[in-house]
Amino acid sequence: MNTLRLLPVIVVSGAALLAGCSSLKWPPEPWVKPYERERLADPVMNVQRDTLAARHSSHVREVREGARGAVVVQGGGCGCN
């Protein structure tokens, strides 16, 4: 019930987030052009940039904590290739 009540808030917030503050047009257009994504492609912008190190850290936590999952979505990217 609570989730249903919150649904309009979530939808509107999500739409606002996706639309960005700088764009009030509908439907919104991509406002960060490919040539503006150089900083996003820098290794410093990827916390899990080294596969084995990320895997080891994740394993150390998984075997000692009750929680698991949503650590990383495999194959996910930042769209900044």
């Binding site: 698991r68 979505v73 930042c78």
Partner: protein, 372 residues
């Protein structure tokens, strides 16, 4: 010598042929707008030391694209475990064992989508795991949004040392989805969700629970379903510095609820050095059937402290040095990382001292990586 170079020549021709075949096979995929993961190799020594447990060993990774159509990856990972944890020394004898894991993966690009299929296996004397995963990520909205989803299946075989009559299994299903959104030329946001279901023997055949101070074998439910949601953001704050933060909420059908909060900072020093630092906090509520020392007999009962009420606090640092850089050809980097973690249990008693248990752990990673 001549035989070696002949063998290398044959290997090169075979790889070239495989590349051409795969290339021809996947040509129908059309023009690609997403890049395959870069060719890469990593070699690591990892070590964990905490709570009477030492686990260390090597790990290797090789990733190579063939004909610019597919990228193949292989991983090898070893854990040499020496276990004298509080559970072991209060109910059994310390032991040593080795766990070896292999992973193979194939990445393929179709226009704005990246498809990855992988298989994994892990073996230790009394536990083996085999599984596979399929993941797809698709760039939309002019490449500003990446939508991902994935599915994994795994089957475990559980046995017990010196007890050939004991044999059981576990089946796992994992469903995940995520969105990565570029907010500005400097900020990126991620939202991930994962649901995991397990069915089978979900405990340890060695662990015991306590009822009125007496030890009995633990009794866990044979099914468990969990969900977790993670929201994170990372931003470039100028002067070649970045900050990130993330929060994860977890809940499952065993009534465990957990919060994870992490924040970090990264910056370059000159052209060759990169430093990262982070702090991480984790806390969870106990499972419905967890008890330090039960005062009634129940259908399910566990004294696995991983299912108890506890929190951890940790901080870590990593230093990366670019050892050799030949633009457009290859790059070799050296890395060293250290993490300190404090585990504080709220309802798990150290039966030796009759006080609440806690311990410190250190995690070390030394590795070399190369992109080519």
């Amino acid at each position: 010598m001549a035989a070696t170079s002949r063998a290398l020549g044959i290997l090169k021709r075979l790889l070239g042929l495989a590349g051409s075949l795969l290339g021809g096979l996947f040509t129908a995929g059309g023009a690609k707008a997403v890049d395959l993961p870069a060719n890469r190799a990593e070699a690591m020594y990892h070590a964990y030391d905490g709570g009477g447990v030492q686990a260390n060993g090597p790990a290797l990774l090789v990733r190579k694209s063939l004909a610019d159509k597919v990228s193949l990856s292989a991983q090898y990972y070893v854990d040499m475990v020496s276990n004298a944890s509080i559970d072991v020394i209060t109910t059994a004898s310390p032991y040593k064992e080795k766990r070896t894991a292999y992973d193979l993966g194939l990445d393929y690009v179709v226009r704005d989508a990246l498809i990855k299929v992988s298989t994994s296996s892990s073996k230790e004397p009394d536990y083996s795991v085999g599984g596979y995963a399929v993941d797809v990520s698709q760039e939309v909205f002019g490449g500003m949004t990446t939508v991902s989803m994935g599915y994994s299946r795994a089957n475990d075989k559980v046995s017990k040392k010196n007890s050939p009559e004991f044999s059981d299994r576990v089946r796992h299903w994992q469903y995940r989805a995520g969105v990565s959104q570029i907010l500005t030329p400097r900020w990126l946001m991620n939202l991930n969700f994962e649901a995991i279901s397990d069915d089978g023997f979900l405990g340890s055949p060695y662990r015991v629970a306590r009822v009125f101070g007496a030890t009995v074998p633990e009794r866990n439910p044979r099914t468990r379903t969990s969900r977790s949601v993670k929201l994170g953001a990372i931003g470039d704050i100028g002067e070649r510095q970045a900050v990130h933060g993330e929060y994860r909420y977890y809940w499952d059908t065993w009534e465990i609820k957990a919060h994870t909060l992490e924040g970090g900072y990264s910056r370059y020093f000159g052209d060759d050095w990169l430093a990262d630092g982070f702090v991480r906090f984790y806390s969870q509520d106990k499972a419905l059937f967890y008890s330090d020392n039960a005062t009634s007999e129940t259908l399910y009962l566990s004294r696995n402290r991983q299912l108890g009420t506890y929190n951890t606090a940790g901080f870590g640092a990593k230093l990366t040095y670019t050892y050799k850089r030949v633009p457009g050809q290859y790059e070799v980097k050296l890395h060293g990382a250290y993490e300190y973690i404090r585990y504080t249990y709220k309802d798990f008693t150290d039966v030796r001292s009759n006080s609440l248990y806690g311990f410190n752990a250190s995690v070390l990673q030394l590795y070399v990586s190369a992109t080519f």
